[in-house]
């Protein structure tokens, strides 16, 4: 005999009991103790089939292979760059993953990417100790010039992008800005000064209201009102 004690999209806190009995399986951010399933984080319940999992409402960015992130170059070594990912773990970008050009043995790497530059990169390898390797060789990856970088909570990134990119294309269209979102919560906005400012406020607003319903309509209204 099993019974689920929570409903879909309920907010639960750490240690809250979700289900009793062995009929359900503990999914992400939950754990089983004896015959009950408990939550491990503050988040929203989702029950796809027989698995109970929690979508966190807050929390740090967990690096995953294939994620596109925006990082800041923090150091230059003999064979590449150390990139600050905005988490507890820095990443490494090797020369051979950064450019297709031939680099001579004693060339100054800071002429290609300098310390303090931001780069759009993809994670190619993450170890158990969270050592991260990056690549900049795929289409759409580049060094950033101009515009502004803003930081949002990484858990809100899916909401800022929206279903099939609906939210982000709405903001792009209304503000005329070029926007790139890193999974680590760093967002690059480039456009006119007013457009950048409006886009920044819009993204901050999404972050604040992300758990509420009817976000796209709300955003549409916000952007219409503010447009000169």
């Amino acid at each position: 005999m099993s019974n689920v004690l929570v409903q879909e999209r309920d907010i639960v806190i750490p240690g809250e009991i979700l289900a009793e009995g062995m009929d359900y399986l503990p999914g992400e951010n939950t754990y089983r103790k004896e015959s009950a399933i408990y939550s491990k984080v503050l988040g929203l319940v989702s029950i796809p089939g027989r698995v109970i999992k929690i979508t966190p409402l807050a929390g740090p960015y967990i690096p995953r292979v294939g994620d596109k992130i925006i990082g800041k170059v923090s150091d230059i070594t003999l064979n590449g760059w150390r990139v600050d990912t905005g988490t507890a773990y820095s990443a490494f970008l090797n020369v051979k993953d950064a450019t297709t050009r031939f680099i001579k043995k004693d060339e100054d790497l800071s002429e290609i990417i300098a310390i303090g530059d931001y780069v759009v990169v993809i994670l190619v390898n993450v170890t158990s100790q969270n050592l991260i390797d990056l690549t900049m060789k795929e289409p759409g990856l580049h060094k950033i010039s101009g515009g502004r970088i803003i930081h949002i909570n990484s858990q809100k990134v899916p909401r800022v992008i929206g279903k099939q990119g609906s939210m982000i294309s709405l903001i792009k269209e209304k503000t005329g800005c070029d926007i790139t979102i890193g999974q680590n919560g760093h967002v690059w906005i480039k456009g006119t000064t007013n457009g950048e400012y409006l886009a920044e406020r819009a993204i901050k607003l999404i972050q604040e209201k992300s758990h509420q319903d009817g976000l796209t309509e709300r955003m549409q209204k916000f952007l219409e009102d503010k447009r000169v």
């Binding site: 907010i11 806190i13 408990y38 740090p60 507890a88 158990s128 100790q129």
Partner: protein
């Protein structure tokens, strides 16, 4: 002299009025405000972030580091020196050991989660308020935790077992004991148990039974604060 009626006219098992709010410090990764009577507490969580000095790093799991601090004019009006002292160091340590058992930092090797707790106003029960606030802030920061930690003091004032002593009761002329307790919600395990003063065996058992109910009340306040943080208007 027998302590029959409490100085602030509470019932023996009644806690001072509590208030809690999560997400009060925008620049922190997680934060909380917790007030019990005249004891006011702010907790801010930063991290997981890179840990220095390097020799403290643990490649198997992240480190939890608590910092407790009472503000210069938080007490009776006398200015106390701000920053760390022997007392705050010990309280930071007991906070750490009462929160550590529920934290699951295995996903964050070599990193640190910093918890800063500041008390702008104090009226006894500060370490309990600090632990309760820190637990809310850690949950608000989205750090995996197996359970919630709720903390409150119980004790005995001149022969009467009471919950949540204020400063006047702690300073009562007579035999007084003050027992700060931190308890996990699901398992009812104790993660903090200290004592100051004297108490009989029977009274201690009675006090700890009282603590079970008292921490549950704190838990309700913590839970409400966290759920309100992300409620849909």
């Amino acid at each position: 002299m027998v302590y029959k009626k409490r100085l602030d006219e509470r019932k023996v098992d009644e806690l001072r009025p509590m208030e809690a709010k999560a997400g009060v410090i925008p620049n922190a990764d997680g934060s909380a405000y917790f007030k019990i009577g005249n004891t006011v507490c702010y907790a801010a969580v930063y991290g997981p972030r890179e840990l220095f000095p390097r020799f403290l790093q643990n490649p198997k799991k992240g480190l939890l580091r608590c910092h407790y601090s009472m503000m210069p004019f938080s007490g009776s009006g006398e200015r106390i020196r701000p920053g760390g002292n022997r007392r705050s160091q010990e309280i930071s340590m007991v906070m750490n050991s009462s929160l550590e058992p529920v934290m699951d930092l295995s996903a964050f090797p070599n990193s640190v989660v910093d918890v800063f707790v500041d008390l702008p106003q104090t009226d006894a029960g500060t370490r309990c308020a600090a632990i309760s606030a820190a637990a809310i802030a850690l949950a608000d920061a989205g750090i995996p935790m197996k359970d919630m930690v709720s903390s409150v003091a119980v004790g005995q004032v001149d022969g009467t077992v009471v919950a949540d002593l204020n400063y006047n009761e702690e300073a009562y002329l007579g035999i007084v004991s003050d027992i700060p307790v931190a308890m996990l919600h699901n398992t009812k395990e104790l993660t903090l148990l200290q004592m100051d003063g004297e108490i009989s065996k029977e009274d201690l058992i009675k006090a700890l039974e009282m603590a079970k109910i008292a921490t549950e009340r704190v838990y309700e306040v913590q839970k409400k604060a966290l759920k309100e943080r992300f409620s849909r208007e």
